[in-house]
Symmetry: C2
Subunit: 517 residues, 2 copies
């Protein structure tokens, strides 16, 4: 399919109501108005979350939790309004444009997600994960698996109930039903062969690259790197990456994230004076998320059809920025003088050396610190364990044994007794987010696929990147990913963007090309 056939729905196409009289709203028009209200509440909600992470004084936590619970309850009330099914049914038979019909499809998705589970179970789930996550914050540094386990058992028990109920009503496999909240349409049946394939070639590639890199001389940058200089460098780079500071900010938080709303995107990073590459590439990563958010179709904001397609597609944007573009030799060549101007001349800041620094492969214990090659094994292990947990093949008590075996096999790491840097390292499980982890590697695969398609559509792409001309790259992403948003199901989005559904061959080809160079 030729990508030029894509015509994104304009605002009018989605928001205009099919009825003749503007005073009397069609059923579709009423639904659009409802989701506009939800968007306003989401604005307040996301601002409060951002503030909580980046600005809020510690003593305000309880009051903030109350305010967030209130707005969540209001939003839930709007999404579970008993009048909605009849409205949706009436809208189905109204004369709608294609884009409006896509919006109605996504409205249905949101409605099903909000109404799928009995309120009592939703509440139990929130309680179980709140308790587990709160205790985890101190249990993790204390390496206290025994203390963590009882709370975690409850989180898993509730998630299994949720998965079973969702599975009954949708016919999905239980784990698929949970994954659907983050990656609509993705299934274990699709994922398993993807990951089985990775397992075939990735460990070998990692060893091979490590062996080659052992012979490479890499010069370490010498700090300190003052926070203010790092901040200015991040802002400068974000501007070059097209982030719109008229509609967004960069601040500091313990765990970097992209938050806010499309009209006001709030990114965070964090700075350590002994090292600057993490904050820099963190900012590049979040800028990828941020541009996707800022470029979602403006006239339709609040409408489900304008939402980001999925977490995997969202990660495909952050990773397009951080990995595909950010570690591209042409981009690193642009970056080098900026780094020298921020911190002064150093042998480590030669372009070749910087390139080696940002592509060094080194298996380790921590997922968020993993390099481009060793990241996927962390995800594969999480997926393997969490799917079996949800589908009752293993128990929470089995996790450390499974973890140790998996890390030994996939990354050659000894993790015995180290729960802190093992299964307890991430917030996802304590907070009950089963089904999220695969999105990271799906994002990396999609990003490789976008760049392969881009090279076909834009023969000058690599030369442009070397020349610092990023406009064609951003134009491609805007046309194929950002502007379409949720206009099509994920598989069709990929097909229209790249001519094929998810194809992991591009990921392998990218890694082999970059790391066997």
């Amino acid at each position: 399919m030729n990508t030029s056939t894509h015509t994104a729905a304009g605002p009018a196409a989605v928001n205009d109501t099919p009825g003749d009289s503007p005073a009397e709203l069609s059923a579709y028009g009423e639904l659009v108005a409802l989701f506009k209200r939800l968007h306003q509440l989401e604005h307040l909600q996301s601002l409060a979350y951002w503030d909580q992470a980046a600005m809020m004084p510690p003593g305000s936590a309880e009051a903030r939790a109350g305010a967030l619970a209130e707005v969540a309850a209001l939003m839930h009330q709007l999404r579970t309004d008993p009048a909605l099914p009849a409205l949706m049914a009436r809208a189905e038979v109204e004369p709608l444009a294609d884009a409006q019909r896509a919006n109605l499809r996504e409205i249905g998705r949101e409605w099903r997600a909000a109404n799928a589970l009995p309120p009592a179970l939703v509440q139990r789930s929130q309680w179980a994960s709140s308790r587990c996550e709160f205790a985890w914050r101190s249990q993790r540094p204390a390496n206290d698996w025994a203390g963590f386990l009882p709370n975690f058992r409850e989180v898993v028990a509730v998630a299994r109930e949720e998965a079973a109920l969702l599975s009954q009503s949708t016919g999905q496999r239980p784990y698929d039903a949970l994954m659907d909240r983050f990656e609509p349409g993705m299934t274990c049946a699709q994922l398993d062969p993807l990951f089985a394939d990775l397992r075939q070639w990735l460990p070998g590639l990692i060893q091979q690259v490590q062996k080659r890199q052992q012979r490479e001389a890499v010069i370490e940058p010498v700090g300190p790197f003052p926070v203010e200089n790092q901040r200015r460098l991040c802002l400068q780079l974000m501007t070059r990456l097209g982030f719109d500071f008229e509609r967004g900010r960069l601040d500091v938080s313990t765990h970097p994230f992209a938050g806010g709303v499309p009209e006001d995107v709030r990114l965070t990073t964090r700075y350590e004076t002994h090292e600057f590459i993490t904050s820099l590439y963190g900012a590049i990563h979040e800028t990828g998320h941020g541009r996707y958010e800022q470029m979602r179709p403006r006239g339709e904001l609040g409408q489900p059809v304008s939402q980001a397609r999925s977490m995997g597609i969202h990660e495909s944007q952050s990773l397009s920025f951080e990995l595909q573009l950010g570690r591209h030799p042409g981009f690193v060549a642009q970056l080098a003088p900026m780094i020298r101007s921020a911190f002064g001349e150093q042998p480590a800041f030669a372009t070749d050396n910087l390139q080696r620094l940002v592509t060094r492969v080194s298996p380790g214990l921590i997922r968020v610190d993993a390099d481009e090659l060793t990241y996927a094994p962390h995800v594969m292990l999480r997926y393997d364990i969490e799917r079996r947990l949800i589908e009752r093949e293993v128990e929470p008590d089995d996790v450390p044994t499974l973890w140790d075996a998996g890390m030994a096999e996939l990354l050659g790491q000894d993790t015995r007794g180290n729960h802190r840097d093992g299964a307890m390292q991430d917030v996802h499980w304590p907070s009950g987010m089963f089904g999220y982890f695969p999105c990271y590697t799906l994002g990396a695969m999609y990003a490789a696929q976008w760049f392969a398609a881009m090279r076909r559509d834009l023969p000058e792409l690599d030369a442009d990147i070397h020349a610092g001309n990023l406009a064609p790259l951003f134009g491609w992403l805007e046309q194929h990913i950002w502007h379409p948003a949720s206009r099509w199901p994920t598989a069709e989005l990929a097909l229209r963007a790249s001519g094929e559904a998810l194809n992991p061959a591009h990921y392998r080809a990218h890694l082999e090309a970059r790391y066997n160079a």
Copy 2:
């Protein structure tokens, strides 16, 4: 009345419901629950306002306006719920503790305020003032009175309608009905003699002090004063003034304000490198507002009885800090070494010279820049004109003539043709806030009265201030102003705190003692 009879309502006394069964709420309990919800929404609302002024990128203004309109509509919906009158009537006959009855009285006040005007008029009023204020932002710098006038006529016309309607339903004088929104219970009948009295002696005092100060040598501080040093000085001083940074922040905005909620107070100031006294005393002023907010009774937050008593009482706290304490020679003596440590030694930073700097009297055109002695004349002129505007004695077209005459008489200033620094200098009129201005001078009078009462209750007060021991002072304010909040009507609050209702003699005595020293 002895102040020691004061026993503030504990949280339980207000929030506990009179019914026996916790499952079935009494009418009073339902009202309490409603105001708890309103408090959560107010949390989100005030955060969004703070962010708008201190953090928000400019391109997000429209989305923010939509989100703020949404939360305002939700709050209005809760406050105008048709079920409320019956609930309030049922609660009236329930067995309530005194503190609960006070809360019910204040709930009635809030309900009347929210339901007093027909929605169409409220909307017209919001539109008229939004349009006028928005245009004013560029008309003021352009000195464009002719452009301002048509919008302002509409703002006045709507305010007159509001005042007339309120007057009909409450029996209040029209201007009193508007002032009641900011200063419950205050009337022109009380204000007129207060201001008439000021007019007798204040202009004479100003002239006399100016004459004496002409002979004084005052050394100007020499800048620049780096922003970061000013910020650290402000934070240090705020800590000394008891501001709780676990539940609040200090940031920067164009127009300094105290915002947020009691659990998370957000103060702002602004810095100019050529001058530091404005930002410093601005921070002291806002800290007074901030401590009142932080110290409102914690268990009752959200309940109307825990609200600040009035804008005049709120200003009495900021002015207790900025004027009574902040310009107290003992406090200035404490401040001097902090200033020297922030900016280095200068002849201007000698305690005596600093004292002269912060008590210099100099009539000028701008209210917010006015010194302690010349501030009230600005307010008297505003009050005189706005009362006559609302009560149809004068027209918007007459304002410049009235302004010129008033400024010439009260402060000897020639303002002819200078609308920008004349009637157009403040946001209150363009935004329809008629009845607010008197609160500033009422606040200054109450602050003087509190300190007179404090000196009676705490004979060591001045020695304590000289010694840097501010705990007794704060303890007095906590007991008599902060903790009582809206437990009693303003007149009774003053009586319990100081043994008498508002008595302007303390204000005069304070000014004469300080400025004729």
